[in-house]
């Protein structure tokens, strides 16, 4: 049996990712965050529809500092995930699927996603 002696780089932070790879990993991370947010979404849906007091409960629950952070993370992830998803759907029908335009759309999605996240931070932060 051959012993593999090729060097292994175990520090992922030392790897410089191409922008398309960064877009891909962010698509996955944001998707996983959204998966984790499903029970919170269902809980909020159930309570908010159950009764006026349940509706108030959800509103006051989401008004707390830590929950605002969770809501911000979830909504920012949702926005980015949709933008990157749209990028994939367009590529599926051969829109912007060359390397050059894929790099551009990766940059564009990430920048728009970041702008949305900043706007959401201000918007959620200003809600009482």
């Amino acid at each position: 049996m051959l012993i593999d002696k090729r060097p292994i780089n175990k520090n992922p932070l030392s790897i410089h990712l191409p922008i398309t790879a960064l877009a891909s990993i962010k698509h996955r991370i944001s998707g996983f965050v959204l998966f984790l947010a499903i029970p919170l979404l269902l809980w909020a849906l159930q309570q908010s529809l159950a009764s006026p007091s349940g509706f108030e409960l959800v509103c006051s629950f989401f008004a707390s500092y830590w929950m605002k952070l969770v809501i911000w993370l979830s909504l920012a992830s949702l926005g980015l995930h949709c933008l990157l998803g749209l990028r994939h759907l367009l590529m599926d029908i051969h829109i912007a699927d060359s390397l050059k335009s894929a790099r551009f759309s990766a940059w564009l999605s990430l920048i728009l996603g970041a702008l949305l996240a900043i706007w959401l931070a201000f918007y959620i932060g200003s809600q009482v």
Binding site: G31, F35, I38, L45, Q46, L49, F55
Partner: protein
């Protein structure tokens, strides 16, 4: 779904559910964006409409399908030992099953 011989089916389901969810999201954001200071009565009335109820339930099913394919893909790439991967995916499947039952309870319970 997944674990079969072809990824084409997963690929299609991922896209169909994505398109449906995107459409549903636009519609929901449009409703929330156009109603300032939403109260319980408005929210209840909106969600109680048969069309909204049906499309919301379909969105929940799409979300669970979409999440399963996405999490399956991630697990297949990063969780190499089969015992760990299959245990994780088993837990995810149980969670999604519970969410499905919970969703039915929510949609038929109000």
């Amino acid at each position: 779904m997944s674990g079969g011989r072809s990824g084409i089916r997963d690929w299609k389901w991922q896209r169909f559910s994505a398109i449906y969810l995107a459409g549903y999201l636009i519609y929901l954001v449009a409703f929330l964006g156009t109603s300032s200071h939403l109260n319980y009565a408005q929210w209840f009335e909106f969600m109680h409409h048969p069309w909204v109820k049906a499309t919301t339930f379909l969105a929940l099913i799409s979300l669970l399908i979409h999440a399963w394919i996405g999490v399956w893909t991630i697990a297949t790439d990063y969780l190499k030992p089969p015992v760990i991967r299959l245990s994780f995916l088993g837990l995810v499947m149980v969670a999604l099953g519970i969410y499905f039952a919970w969703g039915i309870q929510i949609m038929w319970g109000f």
